[in-house]
Symmetry: C2
Subunit: 315 residues, 2 copies
């Protein structure tokens, strides 16, 4: 096996990853589960790989992109809702008063989600998301959000795909927010995207055409202990490969680690304030604390963004 790996590396998988223990551990793991004669060989059907999204596949700072979408959407809808000019939490959103929004608390966030993510058909929401990905720009990088995906992780997805892994996103983000763009950006089709969701209702409209209406009631929260639950519900098979970046991924990584045979557990550690952001234990977005301790104890692979990645975003 060891004779094969240098050839693979020369052939160019993971080109944006610096040589080192992290890159080697990925190549080594994929090599041993895909080599039929190896003790750790896994048939292609069972090569389940799961990836968190925010902070693992794309940038999640300074606020989650889905929250940026919701705030942008409030502003877009504001002309039709003149009362929002004086009504919280909308007033704060419209005037870019993030402190005011924070003061409105969970109730405020829920009201924003309700008006931006519910009360419309699934097709209408889909179009709203696609429109936003085409127009919205990140406040620091001045690029579209779907351009702020991590180039080394795109190469990892491609490398796993070439090795016949079944790749799933397992994210705390909204499933309906992710599906409209992930196939084009990550090459991951809608049926392999697991996320949080609201309730949906089947309604036959007055013209006889059926629609699905998005309601404001929460259906499923795919975060923390919800991630292994979501994996069981949507995938029905335990992953052998999992990548996350925060304490919200702890249970997904534990669940992956607890299976039999070879496993890979990886964490993206944001250590690069110059090219992206540097944050971990003290961050309100993407807090990485318990999972970092458990990574050390469990010998999980921790990516040091600054050291391990030649580039962060696609050029």
């Amino acid at each position: 096996l060891s004779a094969v790996l240098p050839v693979r590396a020369q052939a160019g998988p993971l080109a944006s990853w610096h040589e080192g223990p992290v890159k080697t551990s990925i190549l080594d793991f994929v090599g041993k589960v895909t080599t039929p004669s190896a003790r750790d060989f896994v048939i292609a059907d069972e090569r389940i790989a799961v990836f968190d999204n925010d902070g693992t596949l794309w940038c999640e700072q300074p606020i989650y992109s889905q929250l940026a979408f919701a705030l942008d959407r409030v502003k877009l809808l504001a002309p039709d809702h003149p009362q929002w000019q004086t009504q919280e939490p909308f007033k704060s959103v419209i005037s870019n008063d993030l402190a005011g929004l924070v003061r409105s608390g969970e109730k405020g966030i829920f009201e924003i989600v309700a008006v931006t993510h519910a009360g419309m058909t699934t097709d209408q929401f889909d179009r709203a998301v696609v429109d936003w990905t085409r127009t919205a720009k990140h406040p620091r990088f001045h690029r579209g959000y779907t351009e702020l995906v991590f180039q080394p992780m795109l190469e990892l997805l491609e490398f796993l795909r070439q090795n016949e892994f079944k790749i799933f996103v397992v994210s705390g983000g909204g499933i309906d927010f992710m599906r409209p763009w992930m196939e084009a950006v990550y090459g991951i089709p809608p049926e392999r995207i697991v996320g949080s969701s609201g309730m949906t209702r089947y309604v036959v409209g007055e013209d006889g055409g059926p629609v699905l209406i998005k309601d404001a009631k929460i259906d499923f929260v795919d975060d923390g202990p919800g991630k292994p639950v979501g994996i069981h519900k949507f995938i029905g098979r335990r992953p052998i490969f999992a990548f996350g970046n925060s304490d919200g991924d702890l249970q997904m990584l534990q669940w992956t680690a607890a299976g039999s045979g070879a496993r890979f557990m990886g964490i993206v550690h944001h250590t690069d304030a110059d090219r992206e952001y540097a944050y971990d234990r003290g961050s309100s977005v993407g807090k990485l604390d318990k999972a970092l301790d458990e990574a050390v104890n469990g010998h999980w692979v921790v990516v040091d963004m600054k050291q391990d990645w030649k580039v962060v975003f696609p050029s």
Copy 2:
């Protein structure tokens, strides 16, 4: 295109289907959505096909197989629960008193589901299902339940697979009841099985190993209007091909029909009391009434089991 179809037919797809309008409509539909030059061509990524299970892919009479599993399991567990000998609904189950079971109503069924489908880990339930499929016999045919799948439908699954369809089961049955055996029997992997589910909880056991515990609380009912909801939730893309057999499939078929481009909506009509069963509008299991009317109005394809199928079960 029409020049191609006779060749395909001679080459042998759908060998257990009699020549006739039903077989022709299947071959015709698959031909036109897979021929790149055809107006109705659909790229492989979007060739979503959904199949109901009970009564569509396998026999559902005289009682749903999952209910047979539950009743068998009550009997298996009875020695550890001596109180069940005198306590309904268990007493009726143990003494094979189906009328007594019916008298216990929904509450009785719920109690049976609670003791047979909950209070254990997902791995334990998985093993219970596999053990049952290996040992239980159907009361009339004296064969294992997974041998009472419909041979013509197995050939249809294979034909669609050869034509790069993504095939999903969308069933009112329990997702955890279906996944342990469907990959071996239908060639459909766990992540392409959508069904009803109970709540699941992630628990880190005393030995530190995490488990998922099945609870008795209902999470999702994948039946009737729940089927398009389940399709949206689990698949995230509208099917172009749907097959069902009862009013529980009506909304799934409507949802499929309402998409743009070429669509195929099929219904298995059980018309063969000799080889299987004959039932439709008056049946308590697999009632086919409104969906049969809508099939006629919408020119959906109705399979006449007696006329269209050379054989019913695999030999």
